[in-house]
């Protein structure tokens, strides 16, 4: 320890003493407000579904990261036949932070990202319609049916047995399902709050973006505490503005009527004569809420609230259709030809886009009761919510949780939920009209003569009940880290509706969802250090200065740092974004579209689509633990998402219509979800004066999907898959040095695929990377770095085993990998003192200097690396 450091250590001790004094003083000034009370008032604010409260749900400053997964069961079609489509699957990532800016100012932010794919019902029709037939492929027949639907004079439905040609009475219904390529939604929001002793005020806002739905929102809320903080009242207000620009499926839109939205639809002629239709809509939501919470006694709290939401504008779903069936009783019935079956009427069927009222007023009332069970140290939570809207929906939600700590930092929470709703006034599985179809002279349906103005077959507006059972488990590790996980199984069924009369069983489905997350209390480490609770804590502070503070690493360097004190834990988060955009390269030179069309797909066939741009986002968690001073173990789960825009260059042949590309216009693809998980061991080789060297041996487990497909059933482009599909060996060697305000380092790293092909038939090329950097500390807490990087990666070995459409160079295994030179420029900050002491935040921009690609590839534009970490 040099003199300089000793001096700083003394100052810190002094600052702590002063702080502790100040804290005492404030305690008396606010009438002896205790820590438990502060926790309570914060907790009491956490009313269900009210996000103002979640910003304050925990007393400390914290960072959190969650991953959630949702999978629906395969939809039942009929007669035990299941849909051939994959059901809906969603991967969700959630990152959040809550920080105290200054004494009474609080800041919270949130980032959520969902990626979903799979099939969902778009309409409902009588089974006899022949619409959703297992053997029929393609989108159009689903809405059109097979022309075999018949009715008798009492409007019973008849189905024809396709083998015998005989008719049988059959009133069953079936969903029409449709699949879409994966889509991603991203939402970022923030909240800024100020707290007085007995009240608080928050202001927040954010944006949410998905390909067809963009919204931004602002909100504000205030809280008042009365009665020695036994009673709290809160009032909130929010406004959301949403813009909908949804592309109607060009293959299906010629088979349904969209005339009631003509004014809202833009038609863009496509290069291959398939027009793209885009429906535009605007929507506004105003919402307000009044909540009260009351401490009943030392073991029970009751809270209640009321909310009102008014929505106006385009409230329909552009992907939902309804079937209008017109049966003209004045026609001459056909002889069915089946003994015992009466002469049958031939209906006219028309699929139309759903129409909902352009206004909705929603009210809800909720009550929560929490009771402490002293003998078991448990808490019982009972919730009830009643919902009513002017669309005719009344709904009840009951929830019961039992939160049971079981010792050793574990808490187990079994959970039960029941939900029941009535159907909306304008909901029907399909519409049956007992007259001929009113048409214009051109034969199109005249919707003005149809006696309903609002209609939806969206089963989310039907009558049903749902039961959800689940469990949450959490484990506290030390004072700072909490791991959480939960699982829920959910059953939706018409028969579960309260009071009966729900939707038929064809609409039943179930899903399960689970999530796993980590929460870090950012104030925990400094609390120990500041109060000088242990000698050990003091050491940690010193250690930090030496490594995180003293020798900053560029954000893009992984495995560059080791903890040298046994028992230490580090938690970090890494973000990487890279963009490819611009010219298509062959080797190092840009080439013309004509050349790529001719040569980019192997020469034997021409390319029909070229990549326009591709972005890749990677989120990683670093969880590191030092069992000894020479060994660190590391776990790195990874989450990926990618998006790619394609273009149809002039002179290219049209893309195959079954390839999932013929959407009209320029296709956009997105994928996202869990990537490969890395497991690493870092070994210290030597530390000598200003020099340090360590080696890393690692394995990457193939947890990321490599079999993602387009709607057509064709595999996605290789680079859009989420993992490698192979077990990979990942060694590296790192050297770092430091002198005064200067530090430097170098690293060699590699990725070797330990299998020659993955389950779908290919393996990405091996990677070698060398990087050298230098960094200078401008200020006590801030440093800048420059890094030179060389990367070489081999082409893909093998190819998809199953038939795979080649539409562009990104489907060619030899158009992957290459040799690259990059320059990285970065900044690194470490919080030197205060609540967030020891938090390190680094960013680095990586600028490509030279590309020498294999085959034909899109030029790289750059990459951004950002990391945050903290050690305890």
């Amino acid at each position: 320890m040099n003199k300089h450091r000793l001096h700083r250590g003394l100052l810190r001790r002094l600052a702590c003493l002063l702080k502790a004094r100040k804290r005492e003083a404030r305690k008396y000034a606010t009438g002896g407000e205790s820590a438990p009370l502060r926790a309570l008032t914060a907790a009491a604010l956490a009313l269900p579904g009210l996000s103002p409260a979640t910003a304050q749900a925990a007393p400390g400053d914290e960072a959190g990261f969650q991953y959630g997964h949702y999978t629906e069961g395969q939809r039942q079609l009929y007669l035990g036949t299941r849909s051939k489509y994959n059901p809906i699957q969603v991967d969700t990532l959630l990152g959040s932070g809550k920080l105290t800016l200054m004494d009474r100012w609080k800041f919270a932010f949130h980032y959520v990202q969902d990626t979903w794919s799979g099939a969902t019902p778009i309409a409902t029709a009588p089974l006899a319609f022949g619409g959703n037939h297992q053997t029929v492929s393609g989108a159009s027949p689903y809405l059109q049916g097979k022309g075999v639907l018949r009715y008798d004079r009492s409007f019973n439905t008849y189905r024809r047995n396709e083998t015998t040609g005989d008719y049988v009475k059959d009133n069953r219904l079936v969903h029409t399902l449709s699949a879409a390529s994966p889509e991603t939604r991203m939402q970022g929001d923030f909240r800024l709050g100020y707290e007085w002793d007995e009240s608080a005020f928050n202001l927040g806002g954010g944006v949410s973006n998905e390909p067809d739905y963009y919204s931004n929102f602002v909100n504000t809320d205030a809280r008042w505490d009365f009665n020695q903080k036994l009673t709290s009242v809160d009032l909130g207000l929010s406004y959301t503005n949403s813009e909908i620009n949804a592309k109607l499926n060009p293959e299906a839109s010629q088979y349904f009527d969209y005339s009631s939205y003509t004014k809202q639809i833009d038609v863009i002629p496509g290069p291959d004569a398939t027009p793209t239709r885009i429906i535009n809509g605007l929507r506004q939501d105003w919402s307000t809420r009044l909540g009260v919470s009351q401490v009943l006694n030392k073991d029970a709290v009751l809270a209640g609230g009321m909310s009102y939401t008014r929505s106006t504008g385009y409230l329909a779903n552009p992907y939902k259709m309804v079937e209008f069936i017109f049966v003209d009783p004045n026609q001459t019935p056909e002889d069915a030809g089946t003994p015992g079956i009466p002469p049958l009427l031939v209906p006219q069927v028309q699929a139309v886009m759903e129409r909902r009222p352009d206004e909705r007023n929603q009210f809800s009332w909720d009550a929560r009761y929490v009771q402490f069970i002293e003998s078991l140290d448990a808490a019982v939570h009972l919730d009830y919510r009643f919902f009513h809207d002017d669309w005719g929906i009344n709904a009840h939600t009951f929830e019961a949780d039992w939160v049971q700590p079981v010792g050793d930092g574990w808490t187990v929470t079994p959970r039960f939920r029941y939900y029941s709703q009535d159907e909306a006034d304008f909901y029907q599985p399909y519409w049956l009209f007992k007259n001929a179809e009113p048409t214009f002279s051109n034969g199109k349906i005249d919707l003005s003569k149809v006696p309903v103005s609002n209609y939806s077959s969206d089963h989310r507006l039907s009558g049903y009940g749902a039961i959800g059972t689940g469990i949450s488990v959490s484990k506290a590790i030390g004072k700072a880290i909490q791991l959480q996980g939960s699982f829920e199984y959910y059953t939706h069924a018409g028969g579960l509706k309260l009071g009966g009369g729900g939707e038929d069983s064809y609409a039943n489905f179930n899903f399960y969802q689970f999530n796993a997350g980590i929460k870090v209390d950012l104030s925990a480490p400094s609390l120990m250090g500041d109060l000088g609770l242990s000698e050990h804590a003091g050491h940690e502070g010193h250690h930090h200065e030496h490594h995180a503070h003293g020798a900053p690493l560029p954000a893009g360097v992984m495995f560059g740092h080791m903890m040298e004190q046994s028992g230490q834990t580090m938690v970090g988060y890494r973000f990487m974004w890279s963009l490819q955009d611009g010219d298509i390269l062959h080797g190092s030179n840009p080439v013309s579209d004509a050349t790529v069309i001719d040569q980019g797909c192997g020469g034997r066939q021409k390319c029909s689509l070229l990549p326009k741009d591709m972005s890749m986002y990677m989120h990683m968690l670093d969880i590191m633990y030092a069992p000894t001073d020479w060994l660190n173990l590391m776990l790195m789960p990874q989450f990926m998402d990618m998006d790619m825009n394609l273009r149809q260059p002039p002179g290219a042949p049209p893309p195959p219509s079954e390839g999932g590309h013929n959407h009209g216009g320029n296709p956009h693809h997105a994928t996202g979800g869990v990537g490969d998980v890395g497991l690493y061991a870092l070994f210290k080789l030597f530390t000598f004066q200003h020099h340090h060297m360590h080696a890393t041996l690692g394995l990457s487990a193939p947890t990321g999907a490599v079999d993602l497909k387009l709607v057509s059933g064709d595999y996605e482009h290789y680079g859009m898959q989420l993992g490698s599909g192979t077990w990979d060996f990942k060694p590296s060697l790192t050297y770092t040095g430091q002198w005064d305000d200067w530090s430097w380092g170098g690293q060699l790293s590699g990725t070797h695929r330990m299998e020659s092909e993955n389950e779908v038939g290919f393996a990405f090329g091996d990677i070698f990377q060398a990087s050298l950097w230098g960094s200078y500390k401008f200020m006590d807490w801030l440093s800048g770095s420059v890094r030179g990087i060389y990367t070489a990666q081999g082409a893909i070995n093998g190819r998809y085993k199953a038939p795979h459409q080649i539409v562009g160079p990104m489907d060619m295994p030899n158009s992957y990998g290459g040799r690259y030179w990059d320059l990285g420029m970065g900044l690194s900050a470490v919080v030197p003192s205060g609540t967030f002491k020891g938090n390190t935040l680094s960013v680095e921009w990586v600028q490509p200097l030279q590309d020498d690609v294999n085959g034909y590839q899109l030029e790289r534009d750059g990459a951004l690396n950002a990391t945050w970490s903290i050690a305890f």
Binding site: G49, N219, D221, T288, W391
Partner: protein
């Protein structure tokens, strides 16, 4: 009061609105047992938080919001669709 309302009848709003206000006023004013600051230990336990797992609750609410008519748009926070 909590039975589904028959079609066509007017909204049941004023009745439950009134009862809510009454209930809240009652328990706020009825002089619930006074709890001194030093008696609030149980109330401050993490399991007694109104929402012990706020992040999980947010994820679940998002799922319900995409599947149920009554669970979307109830919070005063706003947000996007994400209604797969």
């Amino acid at each position: 009061m909590f039975q589904s309302r028959p079609r066509g009848s007017g909204p049941a709003l004023p009745a439950w609105c009134l009862s809510f206000t009454l209930a809240m006023t009652c328990f706020a004013l009825a002089g619930c047992a006074e709890v001194k600051p030093w008696e609030r230990g149980h109330l401050a336990k993490p399991q007694m938080a109104m929402e012990p797992y706020p992040e999980q609750a947010a994820l679940r609410a998002h799922t319900y919001g995409g599947r149920e008519a009554a669970t979307g748009g109830q919070s005063t926070s706003g947000g996007g669709c994400g209604c797969y």
